[in-house]
Amino acid sequence: MAEISLRVNGSAHELDIQPQVSLLDALREHLGLTGTKKGCDQGACGACTVLADGERINSCLAPAVQYEGREITTIEGIGHPLQEAFVHADGLQCGYCTPGQICSAIGMLAEHKDGMPSAVTEHLAVTGGELDDAEIRERMSGNLCRCGAYNGIVSAIREVAG
């Protein structure tokens, strides 16, 4: 067992856990924060996306012990215009992928503001390109939606990025 202190949504939590426990399981099973979802548990769906120091990561592949000292933000700690926008734009059906989509989109907007290029960026030497639909789709490709609410998701993000 390892004793760690995990900072989640602004408060510190003391945990006594095995090193094989993922950040996802630590959040859901140990801290009762079940907003973050488990889809594939292998990095292939994005349902488990949370922010670590503001950067989006897949919590299912993150050993919780490795994230001691980082500031973790889950959907429970988020109040963002994207949430309203998802509702207005029909950016969800069952809602299972939504917490991951929201966390991912927040991280994505920060990356774009920071000048991060994407695989569809036309000129890599130019920073600050427009966040058009093709860019949004590529940058959000790490979040699958089984219900296929992609059009709504893209328009919700476009609206907030606006």
Partner: protein, 331 residues
């Protein structure tokens, strides 16, 4: 997942000592491959040494025009770096075409180089696989082998190397710097990954107690005119069926310099030296590009399920060179 003990290394010296003294010690980078393989029971370390707090996170310009990238630089940081984007656009593009944004925020340069194959039978503990269980056979041969390699395979293993980043590094003649308690070594990328031969479980030239500390990019002026193109089953977030890293210089309609490397088709990141030879001094025409592709692919061997990769590789090579010629670099 089998239990293990966890240690976060405060400095390189500690990391090297722990791996030199211990049995079954593994380094933990971003964890995006290791954690998955541990969960599947394919990797079973007794001790995991977290190296993400080591001060190997710099991207520095070297005198002479090269760039040194620390082994713990996250994939996203590498792709975002303006020096990389302008001097080696092919590398930034290759990294951006791999995995997802979340995974690139976690994945490290060292871990990316050491990521293991996505061959389905390698992941399936009930299947025969010489890479996972040496001597057990290879269920991919004659099995589901759509993703398999067409270059560099052996009768013991046909698994394709999965990395996009490493394909660009192969094109750039990068050098992998490694360190152990015995000292520092510099391994040219061409010698870093091994062909499977009859020991597919031995994948790289890295010794069990060595830490990757950096990747050095030499000055490659032609890389200013370079691109990466990846073809996959869906538009994003999928491994390559075929990918091409290419750089091209043309003067008066004649190719004066060309570099080419392939992903998704080789058992290691594949430097296409035959194609490069054919391109040098040739006219910069579609015909010459096709002949160069054919020169490389003459050695290709495919099964019934991945024969399409030969034609796909030919077309992707030609298309990438054509785009470099007409539109220039990705920067």
């Amino acid at each position: 997942m089998r239990s293990f003990s966890y240690l976060s290394a405060p400095d390189v010296e500690t990391a090297l000592r722990v791996i030199a003294d211990g049995e079954g010690v593994k380094f933990l980078g971003g964890g995006t491959n290791l954690v998955d393989l541990m969960r599947e029971g394919i990797e079973r370390p007794a001790t995991v040494v977290d190296i993400t707090r080591l001060p190997l996170t710099g991207i520095e310009e070297l005198p002479g025009g090269g760039v040194r990238v620390g082994a713990l630089v996250r994939n996203s940081r590498l792709a975002a770096d303006l020096l990389i984007r302008t001097r080696y656009p092919v590398l930034a593009q290759a990294v951006l075409h791999g995995a997802s944004a979340q995974l690139r925020n976690m994945a490290t340069v060292g871990g990316n180089l050491l990521q293991r194959t996505r061959c389905l039978y390698f992941y399936d503990g009930a299947a025969a696989c010489n890479k996972r269980a040496p001597g057990s056979g290879c269920d991919a041969i004659g099995g589901f082998s759509r993703g398999g390699a067409i270059l560099g395979a052996s009768e013991h293993c046909v698994a394709a190397h999965p990395s996009d980043m490493a394909v660009a590094l192969a094109m750039l003649d990068a050098v992998v710097e490694v360190e152990s308690v015995r000292g520092v070594r510099r391994i040219p990328i061409a010698d870093f990954h091994r062909l499977p031969g009859d020991t597919p479980h031995i994948e790289t030239a890295l010794a069990a107690d060595e830490l990757i500390t950096a990747v050095e990019l030499p000055p490659v002026p032609v890389a200013a005119n370079s691109r990466y193109r990846k073809v996959r089953d869906r538009a994003s977030y999928a491994f390559a069926l075929v990918s091409v890293a290419a750089a091209l210089n043309v003067e008066d309609g004649v190719v004066t310099e060309a570099r080419l490397a392939l992903g998704g088709v080789g058992t290691k990141p594949w430097r296409a030296t035959e194609a490069e030879r054919a391109l040098l001094g040739a006219p910069a025409t579609e015909d010459a590009f096709r002949r160069a592709a054919e020169a490389e692919l003459a050695a290709a061997v495919a099964g019934p399920q991945n024969a399409f990769k030969i034609e796909l590789a030919r077309r992707t090579i030609v298309a990438t060179l054509r785009r470099l010629l007409t539109e220039g670099s990705a920067a």
